[in-house]
C-alpha cells in the first residue's frame, strides 16, 4: 500500500514531460481502436470482465444522452384534471399532510359493517405445539416436564406480572416480547411504527391467541390514533387490525399490513 501520493508529489516537484499532452491526446485518439481490438481478442474470464465493464459504460452513456435530449424537449402542458382536489387554503400544504391523510372511502365503511376482512395472507402454515413450545425440565432431579417456554415472539400486556415459578406453566421470554409493529397502510403505501394493543387472532390455535403469540398471519390490533383516522361521527379511530406478514421470530421485528 502506498503511504503517500508519490506520483502527484513527483509531478509537483519536477513537472511533466514536455510532450505529455500530445501523448495523452494521441492515446485518447487510439482508445477506440484499442478497445475494439480487446473486444475481439480477449477470451475467458478476462473477456467476461471486460464485457461487463463495457456494458455498464454503455448504459451510463445512453442515460446521459437521453438526459441531454430531455433538456431540449418542450414539455407539453398537462391540462388533464387531476384527482384529489383540495381547497385553495390547502394547496400549498399538500406535501406536508399527504402522507398522514387517510381516505375514508365508502368501500371501507361497508367492509367495516360486514365485519369481514380480506386479510392479505389468507392461508398460513399451521404451527404445531412442539414447534411453538420448548419443554423446560424442573424439579430437583430435573425429571418434571410440565413447564413450557414459548419459542416465538409474543405480545404481553402492559400490567402483566409473572406468576410464581410453581404455578407458571408457560414462560414468555423477555427477549421475545414486542411492543411495536411496523404497519403498512396498503392505500397510502406508507409505513408507520405503531404500538400493539393486543393479539386478536393467531390462526394456528386459540391457545396461542390467548398467550399473545405473534407468528406469520396473526391478526394484531394496533394503535392508529396518530394516523388521524376518523369515524363518520367525528370520533378518532384508535384501534385497527393488521395482519403480520413476516416471521417475527426470525427477523427480530414485526411487519404488518393494515386491514382496511
Amino acid at each position: 500500500m502506498p503511504q503517500g501520493e508519490y506520483m502527484e508529489l513527483h509531478r509537483k516537484r519536477y513537472g511533466v514531460r514536455m510532450d505529455q499532452h500530445e501523448r495523452e491526446r494521441k492515446r485518447d485518439a487510439r482508445a477506440g481502436r484499442r478497445r475494439s481490438e480487446q473486444a475481439r481478442t480477449l477470451t475467458g474470464i478476462k473477456a467476461k470482465i471486460y464485457n461487463k465493464q463495457r456494458f455498464k459504460e454503455k448504459a451510463a452513456m445512453k442515460k446521459a444522452i437521453n438526459m441531454h435530449f430531455e433538456k431540449d424537449k418542450t414539455a407539453k402542458v398537462d391540462d388533464k384534471v387531476r384527482d384529489g382536489a383540495v381547497p385553495a387554503y390547502l394547496l400549498d400544504r399538500e406535501q406536508q399532510t399527504r402522507s398522514k391523510v387517510l381516505s375514508n372511502t365508502l368501500k371501507q365503511k361497508r367492509k367495516e359493517k360486514a365485519g369481514k376482512w380480506d386479510v392479505p395472507l389468507p392461508k398460513v402454515r399451521a404451527i404445531a405445539e412442539d414447534e411453538m413450545f420448548k419443554v423446560v425440565k424442573t424439579g430437583k432431579r430435573q425429571k418434571k416436564q410440565w413447564k413450557r417456554m414459548v419459542t416465538k415472539v409474543t405480545y404481553v400486556g402492559e400490567g402483566f406480572t409473572r406468576k410464581p415459578p410453581k404455578y407458571e406453566r408457560f414462560i414468555r421470554p423477555m427477549g421475545l416480547r414486542f411492543k411495536k409493529a411496523h404497519v403498512t397502510h396498503p392505500e397510502l403505501k406508507t409505513t408507520f411504527c405503531l404500538d400493539i394493543i393486543g393479539v386478536k387472532k393467531n390462526p394456528s390455535s386459540q391457545m396461542f391467541t390467548s398467550l399473545g403469540v405473534i407468528t406469520r398471519g396473526t391478526v394484531i390490533e394496533v394503535n392508529v390514533s396518530e394516523l388521524g383516522l376518523v369515524t363518520n361521527s367525528g370520533k378518532v379511530v384508535w384501534g385497527k387490525y393488521a395482519q403480520v406478514t413476516n416471521n417475527p421470530e426470525n427477523d427480530g421485528c414485526i411487519n404488518a399490513v393494515l386491514c382496511v
Binding site: V86, A88, D92, S103, V230, N232, G234, K235
Partner: protein, 488 residues
C-alpha cells in the same frame, strides 16, 4: 327584582355607570348589588333607556373588556376596583332576531363527481352555489333543496366562488387561473372568460354595493403574486395589482374603497383600486398570512339586500345606493371605536388586529393588538356580524373566541378531533358553525360558551361551510362529494 337581591346579600354593592359602545352615558350612576345577573342588568337598562319593548343587551366592563356572563361579581374577579370608584359598564345591543340553531340535515345532495372545495349562499339567500374538483359549479335551490343549474366551462378545479352583491352574477375562479362570471338563473356565462392569471386564483371579492350599484368590478387574488381588478361588463382586466413577492392568499374590497390583500410574503398591502397602486405596505407577521376579516364583513356580504331585521321579517328587497351607503356607515359607526378593523390570521399561529388602515395613512402602521394563543396555524378568522367577537379556526383542532374590541382572549371551543378548516357566524352573532377535517360540523353557542349541536354525517373532511344571510339554513360540503343542507 334588584331590590330583593339587595336584601338577600347584604352590603356587597358597587356603583356602576352604563355607557354605550360609542361612550355615551346612559342614566345616572347606580348602586347595585354585585350578584346582579346580565338579565337583571338588561331589565334595568331597558328601564333607564325607556325602551318601549325590552331589548336584549350584552354587558362588558369598560376597562378590562371582561364580559358579564353570570354575575357582576364573577366578571369583576379579575379586576380590582376600589369601593369609591364608579365602575363603568359598556352595553352592546344584541340582535333582536334570533337565528335558530341548525340541528339536522334536511338533504344530502349528490351530483358533484369530485371533492367540493367551496360553497356560498347568494346575498338574497335564494340561491346556493358550490364549486368542485370536477371542474363544474352547481347551483342549488335552497328552498326546494333541488339541483338548479350546472355551470360547465372551467378546465380545472373550481377554487373560489363569490356572488355579486346584487345576486345577479356569480364569479368563479379556477385552478387554471381563469375567472368566469355567470348568470346563475340562466346557467350561462356572461361575457368571455377572464384570462390573465398565470397560476391558480385563491380568492375573489366583488366591489361593495354602496360604492357602485352596478356591480361590475371584481378583484381576484392569485398564486402568481398578483391581484387583478376585472371589469366584468366589458370582460377586461381593469388593473393589475403587482407588488407581492409570494402567493396572495386572501383579498377584501373594503367599504372604504380600498383593497386589502394578504400574502404568503408576510405582508398586508392596501391598494387604491382607481390607480392600482399600493397605498401602504404592512409587515408584522412572521410567516404566511392565510386569512383576513373585516368588522364590516357581514354588511358587505349582505350586498344589495337588507340585513336580518326582526321588525319587518326578512324580505329580500333590493336597496338603492343611498340607503346602502347610509347602512354601511351606520354599521361601521356602531362597531367598537366606530372605525373599520381588520384581523389577519397567519401561519405564525397569531392574529393581528389593525384599525382604520384605509384612512389613517401615518407612515408606520401600529397594530391594535396581537392575539396569541393558538398552537398551530390559523386557517380562518371571522368577525361576528355585530363586531363584538372574533372567532378563529386553527389546525390545532380548536376554535378560539376573542373580544372584538380589545382582542382579548375569551374562550377556547374544544371538541373537534381534526384541524378546523372553516368557520361561519350566524347572522345574529349568537351561534358559530365550524367545519373540520374530522368530518363533522359543530355549532357553538356564545351565551353558554358550549357546544350547541354536533352535526355528523359527512363521511370525509368538510372543506367548506356557509350560513345563509336570512339564517334559515346552512350548507356544508367536502371531500365526500355531497352537499349537505342543515336546518333548525
Amino acid at each position: 327584582m334588584a331590590s330583593t337581591d339587595v336584601a338577600m346579600d347584604k352590603g356587597e354593592t358597587t356603583i356602576i355607570q352604563f355607557q354605550s359602545a360609542e361612550g355615551e352615558k346612559a342614566g345616572p350612576s347606580l348602586d347595585i348589588p354585585l350578584s346582579s345577573t346580565p338579565e337583571q342588568l338588561t331589565s334595568l337598562l331597558n328601564e333607564l333607556l325607556e325602551n318601549d319593548e325590552p331589548l336584549p343587551y350584552a354587558f362588558f366592563l369598560s376597562d378590562s373588556r371582561e364580559e358579564v356572563t353570570k354575575s357582576l361579581k364573577l366578571a369583576m374577579k379579575s379586576v380590582s376596583v376600589g369601593k369609591e370608584k364608579i365602575l363603568s359598564i359598556t352595553f352592546q345591543p344584541q340582535s333582536l332576531f334570533r337565528v335558530r340553531s341548525v340541528t339536522r340535515c334536511t338533504s344530502s345532495l349528490p351530483g358533484h363527481e369530485e371533492a367540493i372545495l367551496t360553497s356560498a349562499f347568494s346575498p338574497d339567500s335564494k340561491s346556493l352555489a358550490t364549486g368542485s374538483g370536477d371542474t363544474t359549479v352547481r347551483c342549488w335551490n335552497p328552498e326546494s333543496q333541488l339541483p338548479d343549474k350546472t355551470l360547465r366551462g372551467h378546465k380545472q378545479w373550481v377554487l373560489a366562488i363569490c356572488f355579486s352583491p346584487d345576486a345577479l352574477r356569480l364569479a368563479t375562479a379556477s385552478m387554471d387561473g381563469s375567472v368566469r362570471v355567470w348568470d346563475p338563473t340562466l346557467g350561462e356565462i356572461i361575457g368571455k372568460p377572464l384570462l390573465g392569471h398565470k397560476k391558480w386564483v385563491t380568492s375573489l371579492f366583488w366591489q361593495p354595493y354602496h360604492l357602485s350599484t352596478k356591480c361590475t368590478h371584481l378583484v381576484s387574488a392569485s398564486k402568481d403574486n398578483t391581484l387583478r381588478i376585472w371589469n366584468t361588463a366589458a370582460s377586461t382586466c381593469y388593473k393589475v395589482l403587482a407588488g407581492h413577492s409570494a402567493a396572495v392568499t386572501c383579498v377584501r374590497w373594503s367599504g372604504e374603497n380600498v383593497i386589502y390583500s394578504a400574502s404568503q410574503d408576510r405582508t398586508i398591502k392596501v391598494w387604491d383600486p382607481q390607480t392600482g397602486l399600493v397605498v401602504r405596505n404592512i409587515s408584522a407577521h412572521g410567516h404566511w398570512i392565510n386569512t383576513m376579516t373585516l368588522n364590516t364583513d357581514y354588511v358587505l356580504g349582505c350586498g344589495a339586500f337588507p340585513m336580518l331585521d326582526e321588525a319587518t321579517g326578512y324580505i329580500a328587497k333590493k336597496l338603492d345606493a343611498v340607503v346602502a351607503s347610509r347602512r354601511y356607515e351606520d354599521v361601521k359607526r356602531k362597531m367598537v371605536g366606530g372605525k373599520e378593523r381588520l384581523i389577519t390570521g397567519s401561519d405564525d399561529f397569531t392574529l393581528i388586529m389593525w384599525e382604520d388602515l384605509a384612512n389613517n395613512l401615518s407612515k408606520h402602521a401600529k397594530p391594535v393588538t396581537r392575539m396569541t394563543g393558538h398552537q398551530q396555524l390559523v386557517n380562518d378568522v371571522r368577525y361576528s356580524p355585530d363586531g363584538v367577537y372574533i372567532a378563529s379556526a386553527s389546525f390545532d383542532k380548536s376554535v378560539r373566541l376573542w373580544d372584538g374590541a380589545s382582542g382579548k382572549f375569551l374562550f377556547t371551543f374544544r371538541g373537534h378531533v381534526g384541524a378546523v378548516y372553516r368557520i361561519v357566524w350566524s347572522a345574529d352573532a349568537r351561534l358559530l358553525l365550524s367545519a373540520s377535517k374530522d368530518s363533522t360540523c359543530k355549532v357553538w353557542e356564545m351565551r353558554t360558551r358550549k357546544l350547541k349541536s354536533d352535526l355528523p354525517g359527512h363521511s370525509d373532511e368538510v372543506y367548506t361551510v356557509d350560513w345563509s344571510i336570512d339564517g334559515k339554513r346552512a350548507v356544508s360540503a367536502g371531500k365526500d362529494k355531497v352537499v349537505k343542507i342543515w336546518h333548525h
